[in-house]
């Protein structure tokens, strides 16, 4: 029998050290390991955030006059190219076209769509035109996604993923600094 016995007792007296039976202890550990391995979740779920831009409650404060924020509009309706437009209200400030080069990766029979060129271009565009780059700025630049009705969801996620690859530092009131996406995405209704 497996056990820990440090001896003692001298044959007549009662032993001062008790013997611990190790077998149930090892059994318990093995059962625990088996349970944890069987119930473990090997896929890691996560999320991509988006903002539906619903107007808030009406405020008594008068509207602030000032320049309208610049938004990045991503036109992904064409099969050949992306069009990136910075718009201030309805006015187009800057427009860039980019060939639509998608990278398809098959992982465990699931097709993953990536747009690495788009990610690089968005990062460049944000460095030039982004308005909320300061670490203390609590707002983020807005990206508006234009897509046709037939585009499959995986392509939309590919574009949102490329958008969120551009990140910036954000210092929170407690002094903690974290990396956050430089854009917050929403959908165009058209």
């Amino acid at each position: 029998m497996a056990g820990v016995d440090v001896g003692g007792g001298g044959g007549k007296k009662r032993a001062v050290d008790a013997e611990i039976n190790m077998i149930p202890f090892i059994d318990l550990l093995l059962v625990t390991i088996s349970f944890l391995l069987i119930t473990a979740v090997w896929t890691h779920m996560a999320r991509l955030n988006a903002d539906a831009q619903v107007p808030g409650k009406p405020s008594d404060d008068p509207p602030v006059d000032g320049p309208k924020p610049k938004d990045l509009h991503i036109e992904m309706r064409g099969t050949e190219k992306f069009v990136l437009q910075w718009k201030q209200g309805q006015q187009v400030v800057n427009s860039v076209e980019l060939p639509r080069k998608e990278v398809k990766i098959v992982q465990k029979s699931v097709e993953v769509i990536r747009f690495p060129d788009l990610a690089v271009k968005i990062a460049e565009e944000w460095k030039t035109n982004g308005q909320h780059a300061a670490a203390t700025d609590e707002k983020t630049d807005r990206a508006v996604l234009h897509t046709d009705n037939k585009t499959e969801y995986k392509y939309i996620i590919g574009v949102i993923d490329a958008l969120y690859s551009t990140q910036r530092d954000r210092t929170f009131p407690g002094g903690k600094t974290e990396k956050i996406p430089a854009f917050n995405v929403t959908f165009a209704v058209n």
Binding site: A2, L36, V41, H44, R47, D51
Partner: protein, 180 residues
């Protein structure tokens, strides 16, 4: 059967020198190999601790059958919020049916899904009744959508969620490790 006081044990109190000598090898290589329990127990304890620490609650988000999530790299951790699932056929709110995908595709126009709106509003009102009106509603909803669903359905669900008091919409994805 009566219970006896334990007698003296072989090898512990009765030495049996010739057996010990045989087992130990008697100058030759021993016939019985010893198993170090200490290192084995250490290994098991470390494994249990590692598995307990890496045990993740994010697997508790039930994904309906038939939903193949897309994969993404630049993701955030999951949050606790109502889950709207969109399979190839139907829309579900926390497992309860809330609309038909086929009818949206057939209509071929962006629309507010009434059944979904009613269910989401019910959940919002229930949250407010539990937490009180003083506490602002977070307005967060998680969309679990099959990767082959067309954008028309995605946009319709997105718009319906926004109009039902859930402007912070999150898309559930399968997390990919960051490429170098």
């Amino acid at each position: 059967m009566p219970v006896h006081k334990p007698e003296r044990r072989l090898l512990h109190f009765i030495s049996l020198a010739f057996v010990k000598k045989k087992v130990a090898g008697g100058g030759q290589r021993p016939v019985v190999a010893g198993l170090s329990l200490t290192s084995m127990i250490d290994f098991l304890v470390v494994t249990v601790v590692f598995l307990l620490m890496s045990f993740s609650a994010s697997g508790e988000f039930g994904i309906p059958k038939g939903v193949q999530l897309p994969k993404a790299e630049n993701v955030m951790d999951m949050i606790d919020a109502p889950v709207v699932a969109v399979t190839g056929r139907q829309i579900l709110v926390d497992g309860a049916p809330a609309g038909n995908v086929g009818s949206i595709i057939e209509a071929d126009r962006l629309q507010v899904i009434e059944e979904l709106k009613v269910l989401l509003k019910q959940r919002r009102e229930y949250w407010i009744s539990l937490k009180g009106k003083d506490k602002p509603h977070p307005g967060v909803v998680v969309l679990t959508i099959d990767q082959n669903v067309p954008a028309l359905v995605v946009k319709s669900v997105f718009q319906t969620a926004a109009q039902s008091g859930y402007p912070n919409v999150s898309f559930m994805v399968d997390s990919l490790p960051h490429a170098k």
